[in-house]
């Protein structure tokens, strides 16, 4: 073996960088090995057509935890801040919402939305506290701090007050559909909120625990959306700078072939080009399946654990569409200044659920839902002068497509997506000069995420908190000495939040202290 490090982080995704930076800040000699040429994992900007760039996977920032920003003194420019959401209607009667304000609906809906938003953000604040904590262990060897965290959780729920606590407990496991139809009449509002709850998941608005996924979205910034200047790479680069400033070494284009296990503990890594790096601490930013099944290999871990890892549900269902356009498409009822907002195509709650129906049977939606942005509108660095890019998430496109993903099935879904968008943007087709679609299969390949699921595992109650990624391994430490997980597959989950990376670093330092 050549160089010895205090810690090796496998993968320079945003969580890996957060973790590396915090470990380096604590005085550890840290090496980060990234398979790709650029840091950031799924939070990157890349060119997809000559002169046109876009945030290739994650494209909006709404969950980056204030704690992460503070701990690392993170600074980057944003091109759009406090972006509002516009739920599109073909007739131009759109519904707009931002914060607790909604327009385009009845007054009753607007009032009801204020109340809904107040309650949801209150619950999201409670959740957010725990997203930034190491989840307590429930096993018989739980430590005092585990028990205290657990007691605190119980107390915090109780302190909501009797009525709010009952509401919290009622809502936390149920689907968002039921709650929305009880509260609102506007289909556009219900559709858009449904979409907010299910973006990036293999869930429909009628699936259980979609209130939880909605709260997860609000946790951190109450749903306030921003876009970094220059795309997502701005965030990742800022994190990489922070890590380097703290003394970490980051090496790109160094795919890790395996994590070396010696006598039941992690001892280093071997890269694809045969280089060996030793360290008694290996932190994987890869998803749990890749980490355990491929990098560690089942041979080196326990059978029951392997089975639980194998059974993690992580089949992506969201595709990404990138369009290079020679001008902004016309949208009825939208003023020029509004193109910097976030648009959604989700006409009503049933439309979203029907879109999901297809995915249950391994088919793409015939009427897909969209989250659309025109990042070049406020960020001229992303497209040539006068030209524009569109970045959209399209659902549902199941990872396990029955026909299988191929050039032709991808093209068919891209065509369908563009046709669907054409109902809202009649001149869209004429404007397109280049188009790209990333299906979950492509996301798996490009971002090295099993199943192409950007949360590294479905965000559902059975894969949450104490059981994320799996029971018995929820405190970032894997059941192999010296091996940790710091990515979205660990608590709390995906999104550009940095919480998993920060919690992992804290768990590692806490363990070292205890040892």
């Amino acid at each position: 073996m050549n160089d010895r490090y205090d810690a090796i982080v496998v993968g320079a995704g945003h969580n890996g960088l957060v973790c590396a930076s915090l470990l380096a800040k604590a005085g550890r000699k840290v090496l980060v090995l990234e398979a790709k040429d650029q840091v950031g994992g799924a939070a990157i900007t890349r060119t997809f057509a000559d002169g046109y760039s876009v945030s290739a996977c994650a494209h909006l920032l709404y969950q980056l935890q204030p704690q992460v920003r503070k701990d690392l003194g993170l600074k980057f420019d944003v091109s759009s801040d406090q972006m509002g959401t516009i739920a599109l209607s073909p007739d131009g009667n759109h519904v707009r919402y931002n914060g607790n304000e909604v327009s385009g609906t009845s007054d009753e809906d607007a009032a009801s939305y204020k109340d809904f938003y107040r309650r949801m953000t209150r619950f999201a604040d409670l959740l957010q506290t725990y997203l930034n904590k190491i989840p307590p262990r429930l096993a018989k060897d739980a430590s005092l701090s585990d028990l205290l965290t657990l007691a605190q959780l119980g107390l915090d729920v109780r302190r909501l007050g009797k009525v709010e606590m009952q509401e919290f407990l009622r809502l936390i496991g149920i689907n968002i559909f039921d709650e929305l139809v009880e509260r609102f009449e506007s289909g556009l509002l219900k559709g858009a909120l449904s979409l907010d709850a299910v973006l990036g998941t293999h869930l429909g608005p009628r699936s259980p625990n979609t209130i939880l996924t909605y709260l997860y979205r609000l946790a951190g910034s109450h749903g306030a959306i921003s876009a970094p200047a220059g795309g997502m790479s701005a965030v990742s680069e800022a994190l990489a700078h922070s890590a380097r400033d703290n003394g970490a070494t980051i090496r790109t284009a160094m795919p890790v072939k395996r994590i070396i296990i010696e006598n039941g503990r992690a001892a280093g890594v071997e890269t694809e080009n045969g280089e060996l790096f030793s360290s008694w601490l290996v932190v994987s930013n890869a998803d749990p399946k890749t980490t355990i099944m491929r990098l560690v290999s089942a041979r080196n871990v326990e059978t029951g654990f392997t089975r639980r890892v194998q059974n993690i549900r992580m089949r992506g269902n969201a595709a990404k569409v990138h369009l290079a356009m020679d001008g902004l498409p016309h949208i009825k009822g939208i003023e020029k200044r509004e193109y910097g907002e976030r648009f959604v195509v989700a006409p009503d709650e049933n439309y979203v659920e029907r879109a999901f129906n297809a995915a249950k049977y391994g088919e793409t939606s015939t009427k897909p839902v969209f989250e659309i942005t025109f990042p070049s509108f406020r960020d001229s660095s992303l497209a040539p002068t006068g030209k524009h890019v569109m970045s959209a998430i399209v659902q549902y496109a199941p990872y396990e497509l029955r026909e299988g993903w191929s050039d032709s099935t991808r093209q068919a879904f891209l065509d369908l997506a563009i046709d669907t968008l054409g109902e809202y943007m009649p001149d869209l087709k004429q404007r397109i000069s280049a188009a790209e679609m990333l299906t979950p299969a492509d996301i798996e390949k490009e971002f090295l995420i099993t199943g192409g699921h950007w949360h590294h595992g479905e965000l559902s109650l059975d894969q949450f908190l104490f059981t994320r990624p799996v029971g018995g391994a929820a405190q970032y430490a894997m059941p192999l000495d010296g091996l940790y997980l710091c990515g979205a597959g660990a608590h709390p989950g995906g999104g550009v939040s940095g919480a998993a990376g920060r919690n992992a670093a804290r768990a590692i330092l806490k363990r070292e202290q205890a040892a």
Binding site: M293, A298, R299, V301, T303
Partner: protein
């Protein structure tokens, strides 16, 4: 239209059943993993003495048999069990235990290295779900051949002579825990020098279609050597004498326990010799390493008890500070006719149960409806109660 294949209902009959039925006088059968298995055929005491004085034949067919093949078969088995399977060469058999992630024993069994990279795993219980999980990420095939392979245990001092009479040339060279193959009427007959009686003996394995032919040839070969079909009762008595443990009797498979502390680690079953921390990773290693550092809760003991009343379901006591303290319970007990000893296998809390410790067992017994109780002294012994030199002699003697 899909036709649903008829599935066997009720109890399965062993391929040896037609022959067993002819011999059966007791009509006492119990269920063993879906099969009818005889408690005994004529007289269980006679059957027991066949094992110790001549040859007893026990039908092993219901025993779980998995064929494990594929490029990763050795890796798979080596990770599954606690002992180092790299040392078990083709033609050898290994007794082994396998544990869950917490280092608790799921079952014990024998693993036959049939030929390079090809194994048969035999156990009392079925384990397909666990083996399938253990195969995740490995290139290995696991086929349940329980119903396809008929098997007989041929055990006792004259079993070697019976094997010779059966025409198995060279069987004398077969060492304990060895296996070899013969041609039997055009099919493969695998013979291993293994058994559950602690005596000289063999186990015979062949395709189920040839079961009756083998039975006939075997009983013909053994008719001057006191060959006798035996049932589970006689076998049970002899396995306790040999100091072997049985699932659901001396331990519960970890995958069926519900309450914490009801399963056992290999250390707690006296099987420390099967746990090899020098080998590559195996299932339960982390937990077992921790237990080795911190100490176990339970210890399996073999007890030599005064008197002649079998200590079934008895509490075990230790004297401490002039008072008797309850430290455990017996799990298997019998009067051993061949050892002339009252013996038992039990579980006690550590640190009790060191070899030579004098303990007490509380034996309840019934005489003409009335219950009585004795507190019998019991000595912890480490060697099997019955372990004759003929068990190991190669070639064995022609008794």
């Amino acid at each position: 239209m899909t036709t649903i294949q008829e599935v066997p209902q009720g109890r399965l009959k062993s391929p040896f059943y037609p022959r067993q039925a002819e011999l059966d006088r007791l009509n006492r059968w119990h269920e063993w993993k879906g099969y009818s298995s005889a408690d005994g055929f004529y007289d269980t005491t006679l059957e027991y003495f066949a094992i110790r004085n001549s040859t007893g034949v026990f039908d092993l067919t219901p025993m779980t048999k998995y064929r494990i093949t594929g490029p990763d078969s050795l890796d798979f088995i080596d990770r599954l069990v606690t002992r180092d399977m790299r040392k078990i060469k083709p033609g050898r058999v290994a007794y082994a235990v396998w544990c869950n992630d917490e280092g608790q024993v799921i079952d014990d069994g024998t693993i036959f290295h049939l030929q390079q990279g090809e194994y048969r795993l035999c156990s009392q219980e079925r384990h397909m779900a666990w083996l399938t999980a253990a195969a995740i990420g490995m290139d290995v095939s696991i086929v349940d051949e329980t119903h396809d392979i008929a098997a007989l245990a041929v055990q006792g001092p004259t079993s070697y002579s019976v094997m010779k009479n059966l025409g198995l040339d060279g069987i004398g060279n077969l060492k304990p825990f060895g296996l070899t193959n013969f041609d039997f009427e055009g099919t493969d007959l695998m013979v291993s020098r293994t058994g559950f009686t602690g005596d000289l003996g063999y186990e015979l394995w062949l395709p189920a279609a040839k079961a009756e032919a083998l039975w006939d040839a075997l009983f013909e070969a053994g008719k001057l050597h006191g060959i006798m079909a035996i049932g589970t009762e006689a076998l049970e008595q002899s396995r306790i004498e040999a100091g072997f443990i049985a699932a659901y009797v001396d331990f519960l498979p970890a995958d069926v326990t519900v309450r914490s502390g009801r399963s056992r680690s290999p250390f707690e079953l006296g099987l420390e010799w099967l746990v090899d921390f020098k080998k590559s990773n195996f299932n339960g290693r982390r937990a077992l390493a921790k237990e080795k550092r911190q100490g176990s809760t339970w210890r399996l003991v073999k007890l030599d008890i005064e008197g002649n009343k079998p200590a079934h379901h008895s509490y075990i006591f230790a004297k401490s500070g002039g008072r008797r303290k309850n430290i455990g319970f017996t799990t298997s007990a019998t009067w051993s006719p061949v050892c002339k000893q009252n013996i038992a296998i039990g579980t006690v809390r550590t640190p009790h149960g060191n070899v030579g410790d004098k303990l007490f067992v509380e034996i309840y017994y019934q005489r003409e409806m009335h219950w009585s109780r004795v507190m019998a002294e019991a000595t912890v012994v480490d060697k099997p109660f019955w372990n004759p030199p003929r068990r190991r002699a190669t070639p064995p003697g022609p008794f």
